[in-house]
Every structure is written in structure tokens, then in C-alpha cells.
């Protein structure tokens, strides 16, 4: 039963996402594309939430991805999204592999705060090295090419959207594989009891280190895509409020499932768009209130509401069959 539901949802979800550029107006396509881009970074953050750890610093890998695009465009005039995506992911992984060496030793508040410190250092550097990064003026991403092919301007958004959708699909697959690997199971077990994992012969540090590198790849890819969608790269990509947004999205959608962050990311971008339209000065407050309500009343996130409904209908379905 569960399998059938899952399959159905996946098909419906994929079909909807595939049709977005055809059915919906441009501005909506833009929002969904941005949501899909940020969704990857959120997936990485959600992995840590599963392990009972929160990070206020993953914006640093997101910024690495974005600045990969910015520097490449600025220095080499090179804007090929299909080449820059793997490069951004790789650089994200590289930084995560370095920072992770330190980070794997820390938990809880210290993990959150050290991540924060590293990302704020990156933020400070990006802000102050004006001659290199353009400071608060930032860098432009420009118009992407696809393996050298430059699509006509009016179709550019559509091409870009499908590339992003494809990468998001691959990322979902990779995260499922990761979670069903022994490493993934140990990661979830960490939330319950870390010492028992070590008794069973696995090193918790190793688990956290690999998860960290994996989440660095995801956030790096996310940054590359966001840079091309927004077109403008500023130090705020590394700011801790950005990291906080990732955590918020994971929580909003529900971090215990993979579709959760996706639902959360799309909901978040729409909430933000409407909140900043109707409450231009108070949209953070709207976010805060929603987050508070979710923590206090629905800690499993929006997706769990749907799952609850689905299982209720599923049950009545089964009961109907029995009767």
C-alpha cells in the first residue's frame, strides 16, 4: 500500500514539475526554479536534522557554488551551466572536506556555532575583499550556455528550468541511496544514541564527515543554480540568515522525508514572495510565526499533514475493500 502511494505521488509530483514552464506564468516558473535550486542545499541540512544536529552555516557551501559562477563569468567570461554545476559541486565538496575535518568532532550547540563561525568568516572575506568579489555590489552571473549552445533568449528560462529539474531529480536519487546505505542508517541512529553506534563498531566521526562532504556537494550545486536564476551574486549568500532559511525550509516541509524539503522549499519561496509583497517590512516576522507554530504544533512539518491524510484515505480504502 505504502509503495503504491509513494509511486503515485512521485509520478504526480514529477508530472507537475515537468509542466511548470508550460502551464504557469513566468514569474511562477522563476519561483519554482529558485525553490528547486535551494531545495538541494536544504536536503543537505535536513540530513543533519535527521541526525539531531542543526547547522547555521551551510550557506558557506551555497556561496562557494554561487561565487564559482561569479568568478568564472568575471575572469574567463565562461558561463556554461553544465560545466559549472559539477565544478561548483566539487568545490563545495572540497571546502566541506576541509572544514569537515574540524566539524566532525563537534555536536549540538558547538556544531551549530562552529558552522556559523566558518560561514561568517567566509562572509567577512567576501564582503571585505572588494577588488576580488565586488563587495556588497556583488558579481553578475550573466546568461548561461549549455555545453556551448546558447539558446534563444526567450527560451533560456525553459532550458535552465529543465536542467535544474534534472539535477534536483538526480539529487533526490542520490539522497535516497545515501539514506538506505549503512552510513545513512547510522546517521539516523545518531539522534538516538551515539555511543551505541561506536559499540557496534562504526565511527560516528566518519559518518558525520561523509555526510558533511555530501551536504557540501548538494549546497555547492544549489549555489550554482541559484546564481544563474537570480543572476546576481552577493556576500549575503554566505550570511547566517541564509543558513537559517535552509534550516527553516527543512523544518517547514519536514526533514524526516525526502519530499518534505521539496514541499517546504516551494512553500517557502511562495510565502516569501507574498509576504514581502503584502508585508514588506514584516516578512521575517511571518516566517518566524510560521516556524514557531510548526515547532510547537507540527514538528514533523507540512509533509506530515499530507502523509497523515494519505494514510487515513489509504486505510478507508483498505476498509472499503474488506467490506
Amino acid at each position: 500500500m505504502e509503495q503504491r502511494w509513494f509511486f503515485l505521488e512521485a509520478v504526480v509530483g514529477t508530472a507537475l514539475l515537468l509542466l511548470v514552464p508550460l502551464l504557469f506564468p513566468d514569474w511562477m516558473g522563476f519561483i519554482v526554479a529558485l525553490a528547486l535550486a535551494k531545495f538541494l542545499a536544504v536536503l543537505g541540512v535536513a540530513l543533519f536534522l535527521r541526525a539531531g544536529m542543526v547547522t547555521f552555516g551551510h550557506a558557506m557551501f551555497y556561496a562557494v557554488g554561487a561565487y564559482t559562477v561569479g568568478f568564472s563569468a568575471k575572469w574567463f567570461g565562461f558561463r556554461d551551466i553544465l560545466v559549472l554545476l559539477p565544478l561548483g559541486g566539487l568545490l563545495g565538496a572540497g571546502l566541506a572536506a576541509l572544514v569537515g575535518l574540524v566539524m566532525a568532532r563537534y555536536r549540538e550547540v558547538f556544531f551549530a556555532m562552529l558552522n556559523l563561525a566558518f560561514s561568517m568568516m567566509l562572509y567577512g572575506v567576501l564582503l571585505k575583499l572588494y577588488w576580488l568579489t565586488g563587495g556588497t555590489d556583488g558579481l553578475g552571473a550573466g546568461v548561461p550556455t549549455f555545453f556551448g549552445y546558447a539558446p534563444p533568449r526567450e527560451h533560456l528560462r525553459v532550458y535552465q528550468y529543465y536542467v535544474i529539474l534534472l539535477v534536483a531529480g538526480l539529487a533526490i536519487y542520490a539522497v535516497y541511496r545515501f539514506l538506505s546505505s549503512p552510513l545513512g542508517y547510522y546517521l539516523k541512529a545518531r539522534a538516538d544514541n551515539e555511543i551505541r553506534i561506536e559499540y557496534s563498531g562504526e565511527s560516528v566521526r566518519r559518518v558525520i564527515y561523509f555526510t558533511y562532504v555530501f551536504s557540501g556537494v548538494l549546497a555547492g550545486l544549489s549555489g550554482v543554480m541559484a546564481a544563474f536564476i537570480v543572476g546576481h551574486i552577493v556576500p549575503e549568500y554566505a550570511f547566517w540568515i541564509q543558513s537559517g532559511d535552509f534550516v527553516f525550509v527543512a523544518l517547514l516541509g519536514g526533514f524526516t522525508s525526502v519530499p518534505g524539503p521539496l514541499v517546504g522549499a516551494i512553500a517557502f519561496e511562495f510565502i516569501r514572495t507574498y509576504a514581502s509583497k503584502y508585508f514588506p517590512n514584516e516578512w521575517q516576522m511571518v516566517l518566524g510565526i510560521i516556524m514557531l507554530a510548526i515547532i510547537l504544533f507540527r514538528p514533523e512539518g507540512l509533509w506530515s499533514i499530507y502523509e497523515g491524510l494519505a494514510s487515513r484515505f489509504g486505510r478507508s480504502d483498505r476498509e472499503a475493500q474488506r467490506a
Binding site: 550547540v109 556555532m113 563561525a117 571585505k128 517590512n281 521575517q284 516566517l287
Partner: protein, 298 residues
């Protein structure tokens, strides 16, 4: 030599500000085991309220010396309102849950506070200069300093000494220490743990609001300065050791001097230097300079 004097002076002033900002955060963490992300929000709220009241009294033609009283009143009002509300209404529901839940809850309160300030006082900077100007100036090494800054240093030393005395030397302080060490045993011997939580959190909120109120006359209060304050306070208590009052003092002094040196020697790296120091300290001594090692429980 002249440069050294300037760095020490600037560093001391900045350290005083940082100490007032972060001592409440470390107190709350010590007792409640919650890293209160909304601390910076309460601090900024205190600054806004104090500036607003001070401007109000000047507006009705009050004696400019009354502004000192208004600064204090602003801090007390905010501390006594924000502290109990946040503790009673929100934190109480999540004691005993995972660390990440507590972090996220206080983070969302922070977001709400940050915009609530804009709703109440608008987005224009507020500035009251009377408390700062009334005390006059003096000159060291050719640089003018205000007596208000010196007063700030003394206030923070006195405040720190008072807190340490309150925890070490009074009955209430001993009860607090007992709750820190073992919540359940404390309850068993008849301590009202809930009340201690409320008192400690309110004390933390009060000190945050006081810090904001005292700093307000030296800067213009603008939206968004809560964000920087929160992150800096984290850095200070992480360096000093979370939950340690002495640690907050040492952390504030280190960060203050470091920032002053960076500002005068290498202005590009001032923020980076602080976070680098935090990372170095945490890598070498994860519990901070004055923190206690926590045992891992099975």
C-alpha cells in the same frame, strides 16, 4: 606607543559593550542549557525602548539628566516583559527536547522580535546623544574619548562583579548552582525549579536589555543591528566557555582587544579575526577557556 594606547582604550570600551551583551546569554545557557538565539533581539529591543523613552522625555522638555533614568527604565521594561513571556509561553513547552528544537524555537523568536522592532519604531535610525554628550570628553594620545565610554567600562565591571556575587554569595545563587548541577535532585529537595528557570531567564533578558540601553547613546539604533549582536555574543561566550560568567568577561576582553587591534592594524580582517579566534579556541579547547567538560552519557 600611541597606537598601543588607542588599541587598549578602544578594546576596553568594546569589551565592556560585549560583556554586557553576552553575560546574559551565558547565564541563560548555564541554567537552562538553551542557547538563546533571540538574545540579540532582546538586546536591540532594549536599545530601541531606551532611546525612545529618552527622546520622549527630551521632547516634553524634561531635564536632560533624566535621560539616564529613561535608559534604565527602558531596559527594565523590556527585560521584565520579554523575559517572562518568552520563558513562560514558549521555552517552557520544549524543555527536555533535543538541542536543535531549542535552537530553532529561539531562532524563530529572534525573527519575530527583529521585525516587531521595525513595526513599532519604523525603519529610520533612532539616536539620542544627550547621555553621551553630557558627561563631556577628554583626550588620550590625541584621540578624544567620551567619559560616557569610561562609565560604560565601570558599569560593566560593577555589573559583572554583582552577578558573580549574586551567584556565589547569595542563597538564591546557591540554589541556582544546585539547579545547574542537577535539576531532578534539586526538585527533590524542595527547590522550585520552574521558578529558578523563570528568574534566570528574566535575569538574562534584563542584562541583554540593559546592555542595549547603555550602548544605544553611543550608536544610532538601526534595524538589523540585532543580527550582528547575536553572532558576536555567540563568539564571546564560545571563546570564554558557555555557562561561565568569568568566561564571558575574558571572552569579551579578548574579542574586544582583538577587534580593536584588527581595526587599527588590518581593517579588512576585523570580523574574520574574531571568528578565527573563536574557531581556534574551540578546536583547541572545545569547552571554551572557562567551560566545563561535559560527560557523554550512555
Amino acid at each position: 606607543m600611541r597606537l598601543l594606547t588607542i588599541i587598549v582604550m578602544d578594546g576596553a570600551v568594546f569589551a565592556a559593550v560585549l560583556f554586557l551583551l553576552s553575560v546574559g546569554l551565558t547565564l541563560v545557557f548555564g541554567v537552562l542549557r538553551i542557547l538563546n538565539v533571540s538574545h540579540g533581539g532582546i538586546y536591540a529591543f532594549g536599545a530601541y525602548m531606551a532611546t525612545y523613552l529618552a527622546l520622549k522625555i527630551l521632547g516634553v522638555g524634561g531635564n536632560p539628566y533624566l535621560t539616564y533614568l529613561m535608559l534604565l527604565a527602558g531596559a527594565i521594561i523590556i527585560g521584565l516583559i520579554a523575559g517572562p513571556i518568552i520563558e513562560r509561553v514558549f521555552l517552557r513547552r520544549i524543555y527536555g527536547s533535543d538541542q536543535h528544537i531549542m535552537l530553532l524555537l529561539t531562532f524563530s523568536i529572534f525573527l519575530i522580535l527583529d521585525d516587531l522592532m521595525k513595526l513599532i519604531w519604523g525603519t529610520k535610525p533612532l539616536f539620542v546623544s544627550e547621555p553621551y554628550a553630557l558627561l563631556g570628553q577628554f583626550t588620550i594620545a590625541g584621540i578624544p574619548y567620551s567619559w560616557y565610554q569610561v562609565a560604560l567600562i565601570f558599569v560593566s565591571i560593577i555589573f559583572g562583579a554583582f552577578l558573580i556575587w549574586a551567584v556565589r554569595g547569595t542563597r538564591l545563587g546557591k540554589i541556582v548552582v544546585s539547579v545547574i548541577n542537577d535539576r531532578e535532585i534539586s526538585q527533590a529537595i524542595g527547590i522550585n525549579v520552574n521558578r529558578i528557570y523563570l528568574v534566570s531567564f528574566t535575569a538574562g533578558a534584563l542584562s541583554a536589555a540593559l546592555g542595549g540601553a547603555l550602548i544605544a547613546p553611543t550608536i544610532a539604533v538601526v534595524p538589523g543591528f540585532a543580527v550582528d549582536a547575536t553572532v558576536l555574543a555567540f563568539a564571546v561566550i564560545a571563546i570564554g566557555g558557555m555557562g561561565s560568567l568569568e568566561g564571558a568577561a575574558i571572552g569579551a576582553l579578548l574579542v574586544g582587544l582583538l577587534r580593536a587591534s584588527a581595526v587599527h592594524l588590518m581593517p579588512e580582517v576585523d570580523l574574520v579575526a574574531i571568528y578565527l579566534a573563536m574557531i581556534l579556541v574551540l578546536v583547541v579547547r572545545p569547552e571554551g577557556l572557562f567551560g566545563e567538560v561535559e560527560l557523554r552519557r550512555i
